[in-house]
């Protein structure tokens, strides 16, 4: 058992014994287009779960279901059930605004707001009513430290966030999310628009953050999935026009060394995708 808990590069913390998020029979539609079907999966708490698969296989769509970001896209419909800590997040009484406070999100394109580094990080706490300068100062420093960006920015906090490099901007976005203390971090191809050195920094950061936060990362890069994740889910749309399915979900080591499904094996050995 202890051996099974080892993956290629990281160990699953002992606390990762329960599902933070559980998905049952998820269906997703964009208007007439059926994008995902029959997805059932459990996301382990305080671990990194990677969603991999070729472009257009619905992995980003699936990711956006967790913080109800798809609600913002007109014409989308979701069926099935997603529970977070046992509670249905699509239940009538749930306010997506409150939900998104608990579930931070990082996007492919770093998206700092056109304002100072300080104001970027303080944005979330201010939204939720924090006003005292001393409290804000503390949150800004702590969040930038946790995002490993404090040393580079502590003397330029009043500079525009857009003046930073792409990799720094992405870490600024991570700091901005951490400032609202989420339990879950959704990362939608966070490294595909930044340089390799910064990718390394963000991957290191993920390893540090998962002690406290459940992380789900969508990535095109299989090596990255193998490096950073404890669990891997492989999605595939087999034919154009058909909904994508979850082909395989397992510990990352198993997915990459002994995949159970032929299609997974074909994908990770580079036969398509």
């Amino acid at each position: 058992m202890a051996d099974q808990l080892r993956t290629r590069s990281t160990s699953v913390p002992a606390s990762a014994v329960r599902d933070k998020i559980s998905v049952k029979g998820l269906e997703f539609h964009y208007g007439d287009f059926h994008a995902l079907t029959g997805v059932t999966v459990g996301i382990r708490e305080k671990a990194v779960t990677a969603f991999i698969g070729p472009s257009g296989c619905g992995k980003s769509t699936f990711l956006r279901c967790f913080n109800r970001m798809n609600d913002l896209i007109p014409g989308t419909r979701m069926g099935g059930k997603i529970t977070l800590d046992g509670e249905d997040i699509y239940a009538p009484g749930v306010d997506p605004v409150d939900l998104r406070r608990r579930i931070g999100m990082i996007f492919q394109q770093p998206n700092p707001f056109p304002m100072s580094i300080y104001d970027n990080v303080a944005f979330g706490p201010r939204l939720h009513g924090m006003k005292r300068r001393s409290e804000l100062d503390e949150v800004v420093q702590r969040s930038l430290e946790r995002a490993n960006l404090w040393k580079e920015t502590k003397d330029i906090l009043d500079r525009n966030g857009l003046a930073l490099s792409g990799g720094q901007q992405q870490r600024l976005c991570i700091a901005r999310v951490l400032a609202v203390e989420p339990d879950i971090l959704l990362m939608d191809e966070p490294c595909s628009a930044i340089d390799p050195t910064s990718v390394q920094k963000i991957e290191d950061l993920m390893a540090e953050l998962k002690d406290r936060i459940t992380i789900i990362i969508v990535t095109h890069n299989m090596q990255q999935a193998a490096r950073v994740s404890d669990f891997t889910a492989f999605f595939l749309q087999e034919r154009t026009g058909e909904p994508a399915v979850l082909v395989e979900f397992d510990r990352t080591a198993n997915v990459f060394t002994s995949p159970k499904d032929r299609r997974t094996e074909d994908y990770i050995t580079g036969r398509f995708g």
Binding site: M69, V97, R100, Q109, N111, F113, P114, L127, R176, V180
Partner: protein
């Protein structure tokens, strides 16, 4: 015909057309400059007209123009920006919104003299405000409204979706997203639109001639009447009383509008540098 010859002809035609545009602009500016520069002096700018208002300076008319423009800007900005936010962010895109946009575009194409007549009928006469800064500013704001509204709407639409998602992702409500992240991101272009509309208002004649009056007067309250620079310029030239002074006023007016336009470019450039 040889492909290369056709190419050369097309290129020449394009080049000549472009050059003509520049040449016309240069000719107008040069003509006004040559005729007006001898008039321009601190005395001309800062003293009052005298005689039959044909001699002396133009100070009260500059103040009247700036006063009415600033007042019109104060009236138009909140209305136009809120309308644009509604159209771009809240309204369900459909026939109604299409109609509102069409109305705004039509409003922009109403001849300004018609707008002036309307201002005379509504503000000066019916509402009894009289010839005043306020009447003129409200009539001018009708002219500026579609410009500011449409540029603001474009500016809001140009804000990348990632900016919105970033705010929503942090648990912002729709209004928080719009007011704290989308509007700040769109602000430089909104300001540019306001400045361009302001430049338009400074040069407007037909609207103000009907609503502000012609009395040489230094306006203090919004209910005071006055004489805008454009009307002063018109009177100087049409009555043929002092043509050099008319050129002087024209040059001054052009310099002011140029300053507004350069200001707009500065804001736009500053914003594009950051992204």
């Amino acid at each position: 015909m040889d492909k290369r010859v056709a190419n050369a002809i097309a290129l020449t035609a394009l080049w000549v057309s472009a050059l003509t545009t520049v040449a016309i602009l240069a000719a107008v500016i040069l003509y006004v400059f040559v005729n007006g520069i001898s008039q321009l002096s601190l005395e001309f700018i800062f003293t009052w007209p005298h005689g039959v208002n044909s001699e002396g300076g133009v100070w009260p008319t500059i103040v009247s123009t700036l006063y009415v423009t600033a007042l019109a800007m104060l009236i138009v900005t909140p209305v136009a920006v809120l309308a644009a936010v509604y159209l771009a962010e809240y309204a369900v895109q459909g026939r109604l919104v299409g109609m509102i946009r069409f109305a705004a575009d039509s409003l922009a194409s109403v001849p300004s003299i018609v707008m002036g007549l309307f201002g005379l009928a509504l503000f000066v006469e019916a509402m009894g405000i009289g010839f005043s800064m306020l009447s003129a500013a409200m009539a001018l704001s009708f002219l500026m409204l579609p410009i500011v509204m449409r540029t603001t709407e474009e500016a809001i639409r140009a804000v990348p979706k990632y900016i919105r998602w970033g705010a929503y992702g942090l648990g912002a409500t729709k209004w928080q997203t719009v007011s704290r992240s989308v509007l700040p991101a769109a602000m430089p272009r909104i300001i540019t639109g306001i400045i361009l509309a302001t430049g338009r208002a400074v040069g407007e004649t037909a609207v103000v001639i009907y609503t502000m009056g012609q009395a040489i007067n230094l306006p203090l309250t919004p209910l005071d009447s006055g004489r805008p620079m454009t009307v002063h310029l018109y009177l100087l030239a049409m009555e043929g009383i002092n043509l050099p002074a008319a050129y002087g006023s024209a040059l001054l007016l052009m310099i002011m509008i140029l300053a507004f336009n350069l200001g707009a470019r500065y804001f736009l450039r500053r914003s594009s540098r950051r992204t």
